[in-house]
Amino acid sequence: MNDMKTMNCTGAQAVIRALLAENVTTIFGYPGGAIMPIYDALYDHRDALNHVLVRHEQGAIHAAQGYARATGGTGVVFATSGPGATNLITGLADAQIDSTPLVCITGQVASALLGTDAFQETDVMGISMPVTKWNVQVTRAEEIPAALAKAFHIARTGRPGPVLVDITKDAQFGALDFAYEPCVRIRSYHPKPELPLAALQEAARLLDGASKPFMVIGQGVLLAHAEEELLRFAEKTGIPVASTLLGLGAFPCDHPLYVGFVGMHGDYAPNIKTNECDVLLAVGMRFDDRVTGDVSRYAKQAKVVHIDIDAAEIGKIITPHVPVHADAKDALRELTTLVQARRHPDWLREFQEAKRVEVETLAENAMPAEELKMDEVVQLLSARTRGEALVVTDVGQHQMVAARHYRYRKTRSNITSGGLGTMGFALPAAIGAKLAAPEKTVVAVIGDGGFQMTLQELGTIMQSKVAVKVLILNNRFLGMVRQWQQLFFEKRYSFTEMVSPDFVALAKAYGIEANRVEAKDGLDEGLSRMLAHEGPYLLEVMVAKEENVFPMIPTGASVSEIRLA
């Protein structure tokens, strides 16, 4: 990198050069006073660095999250000080809990003004500390290259997460001799654990002796790029595979060993079998309360093997019999060599039988046939895209329906806000995902409520010509909350009915092709037109107002008490 060593580089130019050195190609951002020097430096590199001007900084960070999750790379965000930075907080919290690698660069007032309540000064370090994997404030130009190198290293290694680099305006204006050394090690940070061989041998011994082994995989498989290793391991051992919400797509949904999605609105079979298996192998998942239901009645009969790269996750919720602090890729590869090849046909049949019970019971309780239901829409979308689209979902009923009914066949084809459950996530995240994976069909499945939390990003779609498909499932309700009100609050629909504007007209105002489907007979054509359209497209589908998502594990219930109606 000697050619990059030049005299008289400004701090702002150093930021841009560091991004180029990290092979960044896309930035999501929004300018303002305290970050103007960086934007000025960016102007000279606008061909190499595609900066996407969003409409709100929350849109920038969710777009960067979508970008990161579609590629496995690191998302990059620019925002100004004060309100620009505070608008990132929701996205930081989301990326932190869902382990998404981001480097967010915020401008800050000049260092002499820190702590003086200067215009647009906020304690960004203090505010972002609990919602970042790491953050740093840079007050001198010469510290910029090393700070950014460290930021990228920390964001993407180990259990990934968001990092924030706050750069004062005087540091941006200051001069330095630029030299970029990628960061490869930090004395206090050891992202890659050594493979615990003895633990893996113990795990293999348990699995070899199991008659009802069961595997629950999470996003850790995707983050470790361990999809291949997982497939090989599952096929050798014949263990049924279930997925958490964020793990969907890491194992093909049409594989004979795939038994469904676990958790509160997951599938019946994997939930009830959790409390019947004899060995539970958890890979890259963290036993979220939405997955476990009542923890004191979760998999009590089973011997638990927990593989996770984050030592703090092991034993946090469930104390495993065999803790495996390891990278999922390495652990699965090793475990595959240690275990015996087996088949479990009777055990698998139990899952199929439970699945049949689920399908039949749900059909018996289905709503009147005239009304369009969310699951029909998602099933048809799944069929028309052959399970190969990248589906970005928002938060609510439509999210759970998409998770249950889209047949994800490709890795990195499911992007959703899991841990934080951030409404408004999907539209900007889909923009980022499409820019990261232009060859894929990217469909954002969003509720009428969530769409209105970040709909200003239609402007970004328009200006940056991002060919995302926006599918609004409009039930004229904050449906998920309404469902809870119906089931647990005596149908007292306290502020969940929502009046919305004409979404089709709104999209058209942004120059985006749009259409509405009001009844069953228009659905196929409506979806096909959306998918066939070259550019961005918004399709609003009017669905039943008061449909409920089942199965469901009520709060406080155990996974075996999952309700089908």
Binding site: V24, G72, G73, R185, S188, A199, E202, A311
Partner: protein, 199 residues
């Protein structure tokens, strides 16, 4: 974490623990450390911070009352912090610890021979004498500094301050050995990430 079974019944009884945290010397470190406790609604009984025997490495000594399970989880979260080198949790019998207390009383009280007797009886010492007040210093465990407080109280205590606990541990392994181990830990030749597309 070894392969041995982790499944042990979690003792739910609260005890006093000393947590020693070794960190890089960075702005905001104290904040990073304390939010881990506050987020779990754990009250810190005392905290001290100082440079450790290794230059550039800071040592925080935190005393709290909690269950073993709570403390172990906190230590896990602390060690996850990028700038934390190592965190240890100790029960009372594993540490040698002291606190220092300063007592300001009127000089006139010394005229009463009783005060001198109390000072001597508690192995305390007079740190400074002013025409108006004197400062008594006592080093010891909290029970001892408290006992002196109670005994001086009848003579009028103008001011009282007690430090947090400073503690060293009984095991002989030195911090520098841990640091060497950390530094020797093999770093991956390539990080565990590849990019599927351009970025």
């Amino acid at each position: 974490m070894g392969p041995a079974s982790m499944k042990t019944a979690e003792p739910e009884m609260e005890k006093t623990f000393t947590v020693s945290i070794f960190t890089e010397d960075r702005v905001g470190m104290l904040n990073r450390v304390t939010i881990i406790f506050t987020r779990r609604h754990l009250n810190i009984a005392s905290i001290t911070a100082s440079e450790s025997e290794v230059p550039g490495v800071f040592r925080y000594t935190i005393v709290l009352n909690a269950t073993r399970g709570q403390v172990d989880k906190v230590v896990g979260q602390l060690e996850r912090l990028v700038d934390v080198l190592k965190a240890f949790v100790h029960e009372e019998e594993d540490v040698v610890h002291q606190e220092i207390a300063l007592y300001k009383v009127r000089t006139g009280a010394l005229l009463n021979g009783e005060v001198e007797r109390v000072i001597r009886g508690n192995h305390a010492r007079v740190l400074s004498v002013d025409p108006e007040f004197l400062v008594i210093e006592k080093t010891g465990h909290v029970q001892e500094t408290q006992q002196l407080f109670e005994q001086l109280k009848p003579f009028g205590i103008l001011e009282f301050a007690r430090s947090g606990r400073v503690a060293v541990t009984k095991p002989m392994k030195e911090l520098s050995t841990y640091l060497k181990e950390l530094e020797a830990k093999e770093q991956p030749a390539t990080d565990n990430w590849q990019l599927t597309t351009d970025n």
